[in-house]
Symmetry: C2
Subunit: 304 residues, 2 copies
C-alpha cells in the first residue's frame, strides 16, 4: 500500500483524515514528519530545515483558514551537535514569527537519520474552518503566490556551487500563507495547501468536493526562480504543477468574491480556472488543463 492508499484507508476511520488539519473545539492541530534523505537535499542548512519543517505544519494550519498560534518540533539525529540544534531552533523560531505564532520547543531523540516531526496549532476564526470538500460548480479556482519554487530549489541544490546552494536555501524558506488563509476563509468554499503539487492538489480537492476542475496552463503563476532552471513553457509548467512542496494555497470561491479576496492576500491571489459539475469520467475526478486531462501526478512518498 503506498502512502496515498494508506491515507484513503485511514480516512474511513477518522473524522479529519482527508483534510490538512484536524479541528477540535475551534483548535486546529496538524503534524508532519520530514527526513534528511527524502526532504532535505545535501546543502540544506539546519536553519533552513527548522524553518521549512515547522513551516510545513504552519501551512496546514493556513489551509484551514485558521490563525496560527504555536508550534513544536521533535529533533532527532544520530548525535546532537549544539550549533546544528541552535540553528534548527532559530529557523523554527523565525518561521513562527513570520506568521505571528510562537515556537514553544519540543523534544530531542536519538535516531539513525536526521528526522524532525513538527506540530502546529491554530485557532479557527469567526469564518469557521475551511475544508477541501465544499467547492461548487461555477466557483473560481484560485492559488496564492507563485509556483515551482521548491522544484527550482532542488535543481539549484543539485548544481551544488555555493551561490546556487545559498539561493536554494533561500527558496526553501517559504512564508506559510497564514495571513492569506485567514483572509480567504471569508469567501473560500474549499481550500488546501499544495504539499503534493498543483495537479495532485486539484485532483484531491475535486475528489473531496465531488466536482470537476478546469485550469488554464498559462494562468498558473510561475515563480521567477523556475525561469532560472527550466527551459520552455512545457518544462516550466511541469515544475510548477507536478512537483509540489510549494506550500501555497489552492482554493475555490464564488467568482464575484475574487477581487476582494485577491486584495486581502499578502501573497497575491490568481484565478487559474474554474470548478465544473462533471465530477468524473473514468473513475477519477475530471481535472483538465486547457481541455486535456491533467494527470494525477506529483510528489507522494512511497510512489518513487
Amino acid at each position: 500500500m503506498n502512502e496515498r492508499d494508506a491515507l484513503r484507508a485511514l480516512a474511513a476511520d477518522l473524522p479529519h483524515a482527508g483534510d490538512d488539519a484536524a479541528v477540535v473545539d475551534g483548535t486546529v492541530i496538524t503534524t508532519d514528519m520530514l527526513h534528511e534523505r527524502t526532504d532535505f537535499p545535501p546543502g540544506t542548512t539546519r536553519y533552513t530545515a527548522g524553518w521549512r519543517a515547522v513551516g510545513a505544519s504552519l501551512s496546514d494550519v493556513a489551509a484551514t483558514g485558521a490563525r496560527a498560534r504555536a508550534a513544536v518540533a521533535v529533533y532527532a539525529d544520530e548525535a546532537f551537535d549544539r550549533d546544528d540544534l541552535e540553528a534548527f531552533v532559530a529557523g523554527a523560531v523565525d518561521v513562527c514569527e513570520a506568521v505571528d505564532a510562537e515556537y514553544v520547543g519540543g523534544d530531542l531523540d536519538e535516531h539513525v537519520e536526521f528526522t524532525t516531526a513538527t506540530t502546529a496549532v491554530g485557532d479557527v476564526t469567526e469564518a469557521g474552518a475551511v475544508t477541501r470538500s465544499g467547492a461548487r460548480p461555477g466557483d473560481a479556482l484560485c492559488v496564492t503566490g507563485e509556483w515551482g519554487r521548491s522544484a527550482a530549489a532542488l535543481r539549484l541544490f543539485e548544481e551544488g556551487d555555493d551561490a546556487a546552494v545559498e539561493r536554494a536555501n533561500e527558496l526553501f524558506r517559504f512564508t506559510p500563507r497564514v495571513a492569506d488563509g485567514v483572509a480567504l476563509a471569508e469567501s473560500a468554499t474549499a481550500m488546501m495547501d499544495s504539499s503534493d503539487g498543483l495537479a495532485r492538489s486539484c485532483h484531491q480537492l475535486a475528489e473531496a468536493s465531488g466536482v470537476g476542475i478546469e485550469i488554464e496552463r498559462d494562468a498558473v503563476p510561475v515563480h521567477p526562480a523556475v525561469e532560472e532552471v527550466a527551459e520552455g513553457s512545457a518544462e516550466r509548467f511541469e515544475l510548477a504543477a507536478h512537483f509540489g512542496e510549494d506550500f501555497e494555497l489552492l482554493c475555490a470561491m464564488p467568482d464575484e468574491e475574487f477581487e476582494a479576496a485577491a486584495e486581502a492576500c499578502p501573497a497575491g491571489l490568481t484565478r487559474i480556472g474554474r470548478v465544473v459539475d462533471e465530477p468524473s469520467d473514468d473513475g477519477g475526478p475530471r481535472v483538465t488543463a486547457d481541455g486535456d486531462p491533467l494527470p494525477d501526478r506529483g510528489f507522494t512518498h512511497g510512489d518513487e
Copy 2:
C-alpha cells in the same frame, strides 16, 4: 552532546524547554518521537504501540495538571500494512478515550524504521499549569500509581513466550494520569511525569526547584508485575526507581494537602519522601534514599 546536555543547551533559548509541555494562552502542547528499535521491543503489537506512543504525550499533558483535549500522530514505516495501521490507530483512539480526549488523526510517512511522532494538546484548568520548579522545603514528595511496570514488561518481552508477550503488551498499555494530574494541580507545587525513571525524575525536579529530596526506599509503591520478574528488594527497587517509562506522576505538595489529594487520585497517591532545603552537595542536587545518595541514573537516549 547526549540528549540531556542537548536539552540543557536548548533550555537557555526556549521558555518551556525544561518542562514536560509548553503552555501558550492556556493551551498545553507536547510532542514525542518513538522508534521501533529503542522503544518497541520485539513482540509489541501495533495496537500497543499506538496506545503507548499517544499515551506518552497525554502523560506530558497530565504532568502539567491540564485536561487532555486531543492527540495526533505521524505513523512512519518502510511500507504501509493496512492491518498494522488500523491497529495503531485503534490503540491511539482507545488511549485517548481512556482520558476523555479525542484522537484526531495525523500523517503518514515512509521511513527506514517504524517511527511515530505524537502530539497532544490540553487545556489548563482554573488551578493553572504546574511546572517542575515550585517545590518548597517541607513539601511531601508523592507519586501516583505503582512503579516498575515497564521494566517488568521489558523482561516479559525478553522471555518471549506467548503468555509473557501478551502480559507485557498489557503492561505497556498504561493509563495516562490525566485525571490524577487535574486533581493534583489544585495542591501540587511542582509536578512531572516519570519518563526517565523515579531517581532521575527526582533529580530533575530537585534541580528545577533548587531544593533537595529525601525518599524512603520502602515507601516506593512497586507494581505487582515486578514481583513476577525480580528477586529481592534491591532488584525490585532497581526496576522501580532506575528504569523509567512508567508514565506515573511525581509531585511535591504541602504535607497537609496530602490526604485530600490522595483521595482525589484515581490511580492512588503515595507519599515517598520529602523536599528539603539542602539543595546540593557536590554540584548536583542532593537526592537521597534512606540517607544514601540516590544516583542520577535512569533511561536517557544517547546514554546507552
